[in-house]
């Protein structure tokens, strides 16, 4: 297990040092500094073995977090723990910086004592930790009920939520955030496309609400379809095939595995409910049609048409098309119907920006690129044209069907909860070869 945990600043000075195991000596602190932080060349691996001691490190801005061990530990767990450690610290005092760490070193030691025992990670959910590790120097005069409430929460099945949360207004927000990735050939053939999406939930619910989340997952719809044939006909087209998904630890995985239903008691506040990937039937919000013509050896003519491919009532935002230009470009003239276009010599690209664009529209840019004659035999590699945008729907086609809330002990029902759903589709790596 983890033998020790060190935090360094960018100079390699130790800010926090906590040793859990006897086999880790003080020299380990220096070994990491000398061999990794002060190493001459770039870091070649996040895991370093120095004299039979293994160091795992992650960096947050210019702060190094290193976990040390001499045993064959679960490496994935160590990294997951380091990330979690960062999350916990961020939840307590914001940005992880030298200043903040120094200011909170007592708190950090307290946290490290709690979330890592003899190198074994313990409950590290901020929601639970905040009930008994506070910056105010906790009053140890808790009532007996309070104490047992804390301990049962920390060790219990629902370690991420404390009991007794009350809101006057029960409200929840669901954000479906997707990033759509595309690689398209010049002829308009899709070479690869996938969506990676996240469902982020912000919940302000009283008590211990039991939630059930439903979306248009093909497997679920088809299963239900067996019972009611017409419903399949209605929603069949709209269901989507999910390649893989992972869930926040509050979701009951065995239930998902057996019934494919997503049920959970949410942490209070914001958390990432699930992540998913899809590759089938993706709605590509934009199509880029490039036309590049070489006129002699010193001139290029470029024409790019973009077409928006979604409902006319919706508006895409923050559209940016990036057309790469050869290194020996001497001048560029651009004409575009919409938005603004500029040649940026430092980036070797024409950047065309459009603030808003409705669905089922098209727009065009044409440019004349003048080239300096070169004796470089190597042809210009023609990097792909890339695009950025934001659209108010989910390109994967994912739809939230319901999010039901049950809290049997308190007197509010599913209907009393105010629910908000928002879809945002952003471009990931969205490229068209030309």
């Amino acid at each position: 297990m983890i033998g020790g945990l060190f935090i360094y600043n960018h100079k390699g000075e130790v800010l926090i040092s906590r040793v859990y195991r006897d086999d880790i000596g003080r020299n380990a602190v220096d070994a990491f500094r000398v061999n990794v932080i002060h190493a001459r060349q770039q870091v070649r691996s996040p895991v370093t073995n120095i004299a039979r001691t293994s160091f795992f490190h992650v960096k947050r801005s210019n702060i190094w977090l290193a976990a040390v061990t001499k045993q064959n530990v679960n490496a994935a767990m160590v990294f997951e723990f380091l990330y979690k450690m960062c999350d916990v610290m961020a939840a307590y005092f914001g940005k992880i910086s030298e200043e903040n760490i120094k200011n909170n070193f007592v708190l950090i030691y307290e946290l490290l004592d709690e979330i890592l025992d003899f190198g074994y990670p313990q409950n590290s959910e901020t929601g639970a930790l905040k009930t008994f590790i506070t910056q105010q120097g906790i009053k140890s005069q808790l009532t007996k009920e309070e104490q047992s409430q804390i301990t049962s929460q920390v060790t219990g099945q629902i370690g991420w939520r404390r009991e007794g949360i009350k809101y006057r207004r029960n409200e929840l927000f669901l954000d479906v955030l997707e990033s759509v990735n595309l690689l398209m050939s010049p002829q308009g053939q899709v070479l690869s496309a996938h969506v990676s999406g996240r469902v982020v939930m912000k919940s302000y619910l009283s008590g211990m609400p039991e939630c059930k989340f439903g979306m248009n997952d093909k497997i679920v719809i088809e299963k239900q379809g067996k019972g009611t044939a017409d419903e399949t006909g209605k929603s069949g087209k709209q269901s989507i095939a999910i390649d893989d998904c992972t869930f926040h630890q509050c979701v009951r995985l065995s239930k998902f595995d057996s019934e494919r239903s997503i049920s959970f008691i949410p942490p209070d506040g914001e958390f990432e409910l699930m992540r998913y990937r899809t590759t089938k039937d993706i709605i590509l919000p934009f199509r880029v049609i490039p036309l590049v013509r070489e006129v002699g050896r010193t001139k290029l003519e470029v024409k790019v048409v973009i077409k928006s491919n979604f409902k006319p009532s919706l508006l895409a935002q923050k559209i940016e098309v990036r057309i790469p230009t050869p290194l020996n470009t001497s001048g560029v003239q651009v004409i575009c119907m919409k938005g603004k276009a500029k040649y940026k010599a430092s980036e070797n690209a024409i950047v065309w920006k459009i603030k808003r664009m409705a669905g089922m529209k098209e727009s065009q840019i044409s440019a004349e690129i003048e080239l300096l004659p070169t004796n470089d035999k190597k042809k210009w590699a023609r990097p792909p044209i890339s695009m950025n945008f934001e659209v108010p729907f989910a390109p994967s086609g994912l739809k939230v069907r319901y999010l039901k809330v049950f809290e049997p002990k308190l007197n509010y029902s599913d209907h009393d909860v105010i629910k908000w759903v928002r879809y945002i589709g952003r471009s990931g790596i969205y490229e068209t070869r030309c």
Partner: protein
């Protein structure tokens, strides 16, 4: 909140000031002071002098202050053991505190204080805390047992804490269960023999239940523990798998990887025909792909593991090539690992895409990455024949860039392409030669020299080129020197007239001026060859080379299996077994995959070669540089082909030439035979398969000696039979038999003179035969044989004679001469005389080999009317050097797993099924040379029935 100020106090007399503050009456001031002390401690200052003052602050109801004092104690107690005792009372008192948080804190901290005297006092509070009503205290106490065990294992056992800990596995609180599992697993690791965890179906069930309820970390502890369990049959394995699969959707990558580990391990036990098996395979791919969207450090861990998984079960990810394409922003360690996996997944189906990617990568900035990409292009050429042409032209394009390291790397891989496709791409040689001057790395120089030597006849100025290298001969690395020596000898053999001077120069440089024994030896070999028999030299030096294989850097199968058991851990990241990087006893326990069970498929049981796997599961590795012997065998000394033609290596690794057996004998006996020669771990494919024969058994000879030293054993000897009737041999009657005793084979002969005249001047000779049997001494008949006299002679045999495949395999043609005439006869020898004494295979090895040998090579036989029981069979066979490695009882049948080795190093693996009460046995044989199976079966029958 400006605690950072505590970091900046560096003035003199600080300790003194702190002391005063610590003893202050004001609580706030005390706390401030302790904070300062901790800050100083963090940055490495020695504040141990303040020990008594800090400990005095311990008695407080301020929890924050208490925690700080405890932190200090943990750090300094060891250096001040006597004073640490002062703290004991407070600890003991705190363990009784009504607040569970304080009780837990006390027991947690106490366990971290490694002072004997304190440890004594810890026992009572710990015992109470293990049974505390509050789960928070219990889960902390569980870990504390592990802490205490680390300090004083004996004490923990004596106090009975282990039993209490075991009871906690049935605790109602999932977190207590998880911590108890973690503690027990750790303790069990340092007692490999103890049955501490005592996993059985009931406790496994408890763990699986807790798995659904505990924290993400607890799930990891439990899954890692589950992975050590050995289900009793395939049904149990499947039911565990079913309950573990949901974990694949967990957001925590470590949970996912640990679940993958359990599944990969238990999958071994499932029959491939099961629907569930293929369902499970399908379920594994998506989560593995999803791991690649995690943070880069985790991606790295995931990729290192995927690398193992792809080698073990290539079918899982074979369609997922695209996800391994390198992204511009990936950190270098992720890029390099992705590239590795891309090469492994490259196939005819995706090669075009892969090549396009690799070409992109070759123009990146990172030198290591570019080199690896270039090398990968070469590997693609070798792996996918259809793409070779395109790969070569891509490499040529890259050479044109004239980027030094790209050129060198390209030349190294082009050498391998030449090896794989001889006489196909020589047109590129001219381009390569243009870059001769820019090569400054030994590997590239050696590769270039090899190419020049190999194609000397087509390069007009080959002699000039090689001569230019010769100038700085002594400054070159050994690799280059050896290669240069060989290349010039090749050149000489091809163009003898113009290059005599050159060859003499290099031979004298190598033999007289060098102090490198390898170089000298090789020089002398060539020198003698050239001076005694140039034709033989040509045959040796210019012999056809065995083909190189398509897969590289494969992990040796037994190690791979072991690493699969360590998925997710450091071992899987390093690709080394834990013993390689963990000190002491921990982690030395060797883990292995479970064997396949289930009676229904036991006949073809441990077969795991996945369907999509390349036919040559046998890893064949291009020898690492500096691997001199491998190098020598490979490139220069490929022996001329005699005997049956070779089935060419990599495509048909399964059917290694029976006669040579060089492969197996090299593997089996390398330590004894070669006296510690440094072989690349699995040298298989690159070792010339037909080594045995024409080198006069040179190397084979060495190996056979090893076979000779063994335990005392006498195998079954058949009664003598008449081989040569008197009628056919002018009155000489020969009868005989074969025997094997104490590692030596002999032919026991009875010579009877039925003629009327005295016989004398006996001599015997064998024709070439399948196993190289030959008389080890002349036939000695001391006195002339008078009429009607019979003499008994035992003729020692060895197996270093010339080899030729006979039909039947065990046919031996013998010529006997006496003063009258020469007589010929042939006889069949029982194969068991060739079973060597060290034919007992390691269990691990057995398992791996069994899997490794393709199924086509398996043969099944019935042995009828044999009334023996399993024990008797086993001991009887052992007498004839058939060794029982393992025995298992499956549904009332005894399964014996046995191995034997022939004198030429061929291993035969056997599975013998014995059913009590049924005199018919079933024998399954697996061998890389399936031809021997029939004869091995006969040997079995002979031994068992006599």
């Amino acid at each position: 909140m400006t605690d950072s100020k505590y970091f900046t106090t560096t003035k003199k007399g600080e300790i003194f000031e702190l002391k005063a503050e610590l003893n202050s009456d004001k609580k706030e001031k005390k706390k401030e002071a302790v904070k300062k002390v901790i800050a100083s401690m963090t940055v490495g200052k020695d504040v141990s002098a303040l020990f008594p003052d800090v400990v005095n602050c311990m008695q407080t109801d301020n929890l924050e202050l208490k925690k700080l004092v405890y932190l200090y104690l943990m750090n300094y107690a060891k250096s001040q053991p006597d004073m640490a005792i002062m703290a004991v009372n407070t600890f003991v008192k705190d363990c009784e505190d009504p607040n569970p948080l304080i009780r837990a804190l006390a027991v947690r901290t106490m366990g971290c204080i490694r002072v004997d005297k304190i440890t004594e006092y810890l026992c009572e509070p710990l015992r109470k805390c293990l049974k505390d009503e509050d789960p928070y205290v219990r889960k902390t106490a569980a870990v504390c047992v592990a802490k205490l065990h680390d300090i004083n294992a004996q004490l923990v056992e004596d106090q009975g804490f282990l039993d209490t800990l075991k009871d906690l596995i049935s605790d109602s609180n999932p977190m207590v269960v998880a911590n108890a599992v973690a503690a027990l697993s750790e303790i069990a690791e340092s007692h490999p023999s103890s049955n501490l965890l005592d996993l059985n179906p009931q406790s496994i069930n408890k763990l699986l239940t807790a798995l659904n309820e505990c924290t993400e970390w607890g799930q990891i502890f439990i899954l890692d523990c589950l992975a050590n369990y050995m289900p009793k049959d395939d049904r149990e394995a499947q039911s565990i798998c079913e309950r573990v699969t949901p974990r694949l959707s967990h957001a925590n990558s470590a949970v996912v990887l640990s679940a993958v580990k359990v599944l990969m391990k238990f999958m071994e036990m499932l029959s491939k025909d099961l629907d569930y098996y293929s369902t499970l395979l399908k379920k594994l791919a998506p989560p593995l792909v999803t791991l690649l969207s995690a943070e880069p450090e985790l991606q790295y861990v995931a990729l290192r593991n995927i690398n193992l998984i792809v080698q073990k079960r290539p079918e899982i990810l074979k369609h997922e090539m695209k996800v391994f394409f390198v992204k511009y922003n990936d950190p270098i360690y992720v890029k390099l690992e992705k590239l590795d996996i891309m090469i492994r997944l490259a196939s005819q189906a995706n090669i075009a895409q892969v090549l396009a990617e690799l070409k992109e990568y070759a123009t990146e900035v990172d030198v290591d990455f570019v080199r690896k990409a270039v090398r990968a292009i070469g590997r693609c050429a070798i792996k996918v024949e259809q793409s070779a042409e395109r790969c070569v032209s891509t490499l040529l394009d890259l050479i044109q860039t004239k980027v030094n390291y790209v050129v060198q790397e390209a030349i190294v891989v082009i050498k391998d392409i030449f090896r794989k496709y001889p006489n196909k791409y020589e047109s590129v040689i001219a381009t390569l030669c243009e870059n001769l001057d820019s090569l400054d790395e030994p590997e590239a120089r050696a590769a270039m020299i090899w190419i020049v030597g190999e194609y000397a006849e087509r390069i007009d100025n080959a002699d000039e080129l090689l001569e230019s290298f010769l100038e700085g001969f002594h400054d070159e690395s050994t690799q280059v020197q050896l290669q240069l020596l060989t290349a010039i000898v090749k050149l000489f053999l091809k163009k003898p007239t113009e290059t005599q001077e050159l060859v003499q120069q290099v031979l004298s440089l190598a033999t007289q001026d060098s102090d490198n024994p390898d170089l000298r030896d090789r020089g002398y070999i060539y020198w003698r060859l050239l001076s005694t028999d140039p034709v033989a030299a040509k045959e040796v030096v210019l012999a056809e080379k065995p083909l190189i294989s398509e897969e590289t850097d494969l992990i040796e199968p037994t190690l791979l299996d072991e690493l699969i058991c360590y998925i997710g851990t450091l071992a899987s990241v390093y690709h080394k077994p834990p013993s390689a990087f963990v000190e002491g006893s921990r982690g030395v326990v060797h883990k292995s995959l479970p064997p396949r069970t289930g009676s229904s498929e036991s006949a073809e049981s441990p077969e795991t070669a996945p369907t999509g796997a390349p036919p040559s599961e046998q890893p064949a590795v291009i020898p690492a540089q500096g691997d001199l012997l491998g190098d020598l065998l490979n490139l220069d000394l490929g022996p001329p082909v005699s005997g049956p033609p070779l089935t060419t290596a990599p495509v048909q690794m399964g059917a290694v030439d029976l006669l040579g057996g060089g492969l197996d004998s090299l593997m089996g006996d390398e330590s004894e035979g070669m006296g510690g020669a440094n072989f690349a771990a699995p040298p298989a494919g690159t070792m010339p398969a037909n080594l045995g024969a024409p080198l006069g058994g040179g190397l084979g000879d060495l190996f056979d000696l090893a076979g000779g030293v063994g335990t005392l054993s006498g195998s079954y000897v058949a009664p003598k039979a008449v081989w040569l009737p008197a009628m056919k041999a002018k009155g000489l009657e020969i009868s005989g038999t074969f025997s094997r005793q104490v590692g030596s084979i002999s032919m026991d002969l009875l010579l009877t003179n039925k003629a009327l005249q005295v016989m004398s001047d006996f001599a015997i000779q064998f024709n070439r035969n399948s196993f190289g049997l030959a008389p080890a001494a002349p036939l000695q008949v001391h006195a002339p044989l008078s009429p009607n006299q019979t003499v008994e002679i035992s003729l020692p045999l060895n197996t270093v004679g010339s080899v030729m495949k006979m039909d039947p395999l065990n046919n031996l043609q013998v010529a006997v001469k006496n003063n009258i005439d020469v007589f010929y006869f042939s006889t069949l020898y029982p194969l068991h005389i060739l079973f060597v004494e060290d034919g007992k295979m390691e269990r691990q090895m057995f398992l791996a080999t069994w899997k490794d040998i393709p199924n086509e090579n398996e043969a099944q036989f019935q042995i009828k009317d044999c009334p023996l029981n399993a024990e008797a069979v086993s001991s009887k066979l052992q007498g004839s050097n058939i060794f029982t490695i393992a025995k298992r009882n499956v549904e009332g049948q005894d399964m014996l797993y046995q191995s034997l080795k022939l004198t030429n190093g061929i291993w035969v693996l056997a599975e013998l099924r014995v059913q009590p009460g049924n005199p018919t046995f079933t024998l399954s044989l697996k061998c890389r040379a399936p031809e021997v199976s029939q004869h091995v079966y006969q040997a079995y029958e002979t031994i068992l029935k006599n």
